[in-house]
């Protein structure tokens, strides 16, 4: 069993796609998005720990990219619109502080 905590994500909207029809994809990343300004119960600063960038690509072609800042709420939620003209592989990739990096893929088969 790995020691590092598992990265949790929710990805909705990759089923029931239609060729050429824009469809909304909604994603959530489990991430504390600590802005480095909060204090714990002992008065110590909780160190900054942010997810800073997200990219969604379809077979390597960019769908949407987002630069995330401390103003993004914890467990960052993003929704965006995809247009797929045929089957392919969607990649969802996040980067952040402390070497954070997570990538997932979903195969899509628009009708």
């Amino acid at each position: 069993m790995a020691d590092e905590p598992r990265v949790r994500t929710l990805i909705h909207g990759t089923n029931a796609l239609q060729r050429g029809v824009p469809a909304q994809i909604r994603i959530t990343l489990g991430h504390p998005m600590e802005n480095g300004l909060r204090h714990d119960g002992y008065g110590n600063v909780v160190p900054r720990n942010l997810a800073t960038r997200f990219e969604c690509k379809l077979d390597g072609v960019l769908v949407v990219a987002a630069d995330l800042y401390p103003a993004i709420a914890a467990n960052p939620f993003l929704a965006f619109w995809l247009r797929a003209d045929g089957p392919g592989t969607l990649s969802f990739e996040w980067w952040g502080d402390n070497g954070f990096h997570h990538r997932e893929t979903r195969d899509i088969a628009p009708a």
Partner: protein
């Protein structure tokens, strides 16, 4: 059991509700939230608590403890076998010889059948399983069992609910029964029905238990919170279940 029959049975079992104390009609904390936050709770594609529910579904199928048993090995598909279960807790556990919350029951199962250690109240795995099982009762009426053995615990919970606490010398009932719907600072005081636990609380930016919420209430009135393993937490939870009997389970809820 219908909500009305539950209420009658519970009252007949010896719990006396203080006359005129409860706000009527009973309204969930959901009602006191802005439309945007209500939408957040209602949409599974947006509710951050679903991260924990997803984990709970995974844990349900994951071997645990010395026996390597999975929850699913005994209980099968939770969507079928656990339907309505969370709505009936806290409940009397014959083998334990005491009342248990759902979290307590999960821990008992872990120890007894998986030979796995019990998990602390705010442990991510326990919250995940609790939210996953709670989801299987979502939409169903809270149905505290008509069980005389729970009467002393519920009475203790009701007494705690009405007891002034802390430097602010406030009882839960004063805010949440008498002044529910009025404003404290910028926020509306909810009726405080525990129908959606574990909740995703925006202030925590994470999922937490009823005990955690009650602890912060006690801190809020400048009272020293009960010890983590104190019986008072279960007593309050048992009383709150009676108080909200018949209201729909909302787990996993979103709250400010």
């Amino acid at each position: 059991m219908t909500a009305a029959r539950v209420l009658v049975a519970v009252l007949a079992s010896g719990v006396v509700a203080a006359a005129g104390a409860q706000p009527q009609p009973r309204r969930s904390g959901l009602d006191f939230m802005s439309p945007a936050l209500q939408a957040l709770q209602r949409d599974d594609a947006q509710n951050p608590a679903m991260l924990w529910v997803q984990d709970g579904a995974l844990l349900w199928r994951t071997p645990a403890g010395a026996t390597g048993q999975r929850c699913a090995d005994c209980h099968g598909d939770a969507a079928v076998t656990m339907r309505g279960v969370a709505a009936r807790y806290p409940a009397w556990d014959a083998a334990a010889g005491q009342a248990l919350s759902l979290a307590g029951r999960i821990n008992r199962c872990r120890q007894r059948h998986q030979q796995a250690p019990p998990l602390a109240a705010e442990h991510a795995d326990l919250l995940a399983l609790g939210s996953y099982l709670g989801l299987q009762s979502r939409g169903q009426p809270l149905a505290p069992p008509a069980d005389d053995r729970l009467a002393p615990l519920r009475a203790q919970g009701q007494q705690l609910w009405q007891q002034r606490l802390g430097q602010l010398n406030l009882a839960c009932a004063q805010c949440h029964d008498q002044h529910a719907g009025q404003r404290l600072g910028g926020a509306v005081i909810p009726q405080a029905h525990a129908t959606g636990y574990p909740i995703y609380r925006l202030e925590w930016q994470g999922l937490g238990s009823l005990q955690r919420r009650l602890r912060s209430c006690m801190t809020g009135v400048r009272a020293e919170p009960f010890a983590p393993d104190a019986p008072e937490w279960l007593a309050l939870e048992a009383w709150l279940a009676v108080r909200a009997a018949g209201m729909a389970v909302e787990t996993p809820a979103v709250r400010p």
